[in-house]
Point group: C2
Chain length 445, copies 2
């Protein structure tokens, strides 16, 4: 009796489904049809039950949900390495903001975002959140390449290349939401840059629209001490309190960074079910501090991971973020059992999906979910021997060993070859931007 027809079966040495059980299973498979996972289980049972069009043999691989990069500024790849070893405020005001003023344009964003997508795909990310100028360019780019994305369009009180004022910004952002209303892969959200760069009126406008339209909100919050000190000086209380007073602490809010928080603030965040996104490399590189993820976790807060922009990282490898987050969890608690590999695998996948309101659709290998799946080739001295595939994935620098990436069943990276990105052409466009940016810096000196 022939089995049920399906498009694809992945035949995996190790399967890391994340949910319903966050454990590794040996010799298991995933059956995929019409972009969705139709079955997960022992490979022999799948072959009995299904007649696949195609089988991909992943005999040395760990197969897991695609990673969710819950915070970044994709196009900033073009500024990677342009301003090194500087503290946050100097880095922003002396380097990044002047460079952005001089260069940011639709073409800059197109090229920088494509570069970021290439890099994120090669490191196993299938879903990213973005906050940058020309969000319509980022949204189109994600759609075209086939990546899942949350595009948080910027709300910021300074005029910029994308909008003269926030009236124009909200107008363009809401039009973008309208354009992408029926796109399965791209969701639009609000991206108020931070409490200190957005007026109270615009924070209130963000809250009103987000409630009306059911859209999520992502913002930088308590990134470093100077930011929090400024709030206390100006307002007599912190930015978290400031947002709380405006009713903005709610499950739709994704609070990014959160390196400087009191116990009372952690409780407040937990009470209002705010999503927390940690960016460990960026936070250390800019000497901002460490997000107390284990305190948030203990309080019941969902914690996700982000790379932040490449200019403060300098890579977009979410596996590296997970590894560093595990190490920092152990360090800050003084407890080597904290930040377990299982927990970090969860945060890098389903926790991220939950933060972005996408956990019904992605983040685990469960029947009915979108086939957002990656394979990591473990046939490499650095992964021998193999007692524990989950710790190997988290502590073994898996990013460089990603071999395959599927989003909604479409293979974007096939045995290390991009299928939806023209990399040679992209590199040549990046080189042009590099020359322009470098020449601009020289002429400013």
């Amino acid at each position: 009796m022939p089995g049920t027809h399906v498009e694809l079966i992945l035949n995996c040495r190790w399967l890391l489904p994340v949910a319903p059980v966050n454990e590794a299973v040996e010799h298991a498979g995933v059956a995929i049809d019409n972009g969705r996972i139709v079955a997960v289980g022992p490979i022999d049972a799948l072959f009995e039950r299904f007649a696949p069009n195609r089988i991909v043999d992943l005999g040395h691989h760990a197969v897991l949900p695609g990673l969710v990069n819950a915070h970044g500024h994709a196009a900033m790849t073009l500024l990677r390495g342009s301003a090194e070893d500087k503290p946050l405020q100097a880095w922003l005001t002396d380097d990044i903001w002047p460079l952005e003023t001089a260069h940011v344009s639709p073409d800059f964003v197109q090229t920088g975002t494509e570069l970021a997508l290439a890099e994120m795909i090669s490191f196993g990310t299938t879903c990213f959140s973005d906050m940058y100028f020309f969000p319509e360019v980022v949204a189109r780019c994600a759609k075209q390449v086939g990546m899942r994305a949350q595009i948080a369009f910027p709300v910021i009180k300074f005029p910029n290349a994308w909008c003269q004022d926030t009236d124009e910004g909200f107008h363009k952002g809401l039009a973008l939401h309208d354009d992408f209303r029926n796109e399965p892969l791209v969701t639009i959200a609000f991206g108020p840059h931070s409490a200190y760069t957005v007026t109270d009126a615009d924070l209130e406008r963000t809250l009103m629209y987000s409630e009306e339209l059911g859209l999520l909100v992502q913002t930088h919050l308590h990134e470093n001490q100077a930011e929090v000190a400024e709030a206390h000086e100006r307002l007599g209380h912190s930015w978290i309190t400031h947002l709380h007073e405006r009713g903005m602490l709610n499950p739709s809010l994704q609070a990014v960074h959160m390196t400087q928080v009191t116990e009372a603030e952690i409780e407040l965040i937990a009470e209002h079910d705010v999503q927390v996104v940690q960016c460990p490399h960026s936070n250390l590189k800019l000497a901002c501090g460490i997000c107390p993820t284990e305190d948030f976790h203990a309080a019941g807060v969902n914690v996700a991971l982000g790379t932040d922009g490449a200019a403060s990282n300098n890579t977009l490898d979410l596996f590296a973020e997970a590894r560093l987050a595990a190490l920092l969890a152990k360090h800050t608690t003084g407890n080597a059992s904290a930040g377990s590999s299982q927990q970090l695998l969860y945060r890098a996948t389903l926790g991220g999906a939950k933060a972005l309101g996408m956990d019904a659709e992605t983040g685990s290998l469960e029947v009915g979910k979108s086939a957002d799946i990656i394979a990591v080739d473990l046939d490499n001295a650095a992964f021998f021997p193999m007692y524990d595939p989950i710790s190997a994935i988290i502590h073994g620098a898996a990013g460089a060993s990603v071999s395959h990436v599927w989003v909604a069943g479409q293979c974007l990276y096939d045995d290390r070859t991009f299928t939806t990105l023209a990399v040679d052409d992209l590199k040549s466009r990046v080189r042009n931007w590099q020359s322009r940016i470098r020449d601009g810096r020289r002429s400013n000196r």
Copy 2:
């Protein structure tokens, strides 16, 4: 007029010589003859001056000195991932020591060390320090594969598979020194495991022999709080003071870890010109703390980097250690300018060589030094654009992009292919060990 004959010229897109000037140079080359660097400079000038047998074109690559992994236990690769998310003392007593008692043998050490060498070479390490049982096996293995090594033979008060007591250990270790006296790549040193696992008599014996023979000494020192607290309880002062009282603080001593130190101890270490080796991944993974490298540096102490064993890391990628060390330097000082990429490149190369007493021979691309050189292929989305090759190398996860490795002019890794290691045979031997270790653990439960 024909140029002077040389064996090899490397034609490099970016050259990072580390010394005499620690800056990147574009379109430069290295001329190599008889295992040594005979010239470094603009590529055109080298081609005018020399007639090479062979040219290796590294047109997308950064070329730099091979990295120096100043602390590790190579054979522990076989225990990688065998005991995860556990604090140091439980990790040692419940898992690592019982596993070692059950399995360590010359064959275990041979297989585990070959695996470590494959991994280290693939990540750009050309010189490593080792401290493990059966050091004669490690020494032979390094020689056979062509890696530069310091083999610190273990001195420990517990009987073990290698020696019944320290009399036997010193005897075997000194015989090993004698055997390798004329080997250019392998140096023997003393490896007293730690002040808390070695008797005072054996510490004194170590000091006496090391002075007599001019050999260096490597030891674990102040790895975590419990270790230091125990010293205060038993002796009324720290292990650093204990070693100081015995005259063991001197330029021959390599003090590994040093996460728990007072200001006075930092001054003492500086005053006696002790070498400090930081193992950032291992220290965080076992929740031991962070070595205050910037305080040591400010006091004039040379700081090197080590991976420690793969069982507490879980990779042997010194680039990853350098990146994490840079981030931790910024974090602990609260100063994003600390831990610059230049400084970390130095620590990963020449600083490491200096700690091992090998800085006249390796650690920089300077005329007269051994040709211990690596190439990193930067033709990858994650390295685009390129404004600053040194920050790209340190913050861009270069380990996975190493393409070539030379030690003393011998190419050990040629466009990602090992030339002195039979990797398939090695993998099959590792698989056998994996089964034995896993079965042993199951039968103990």
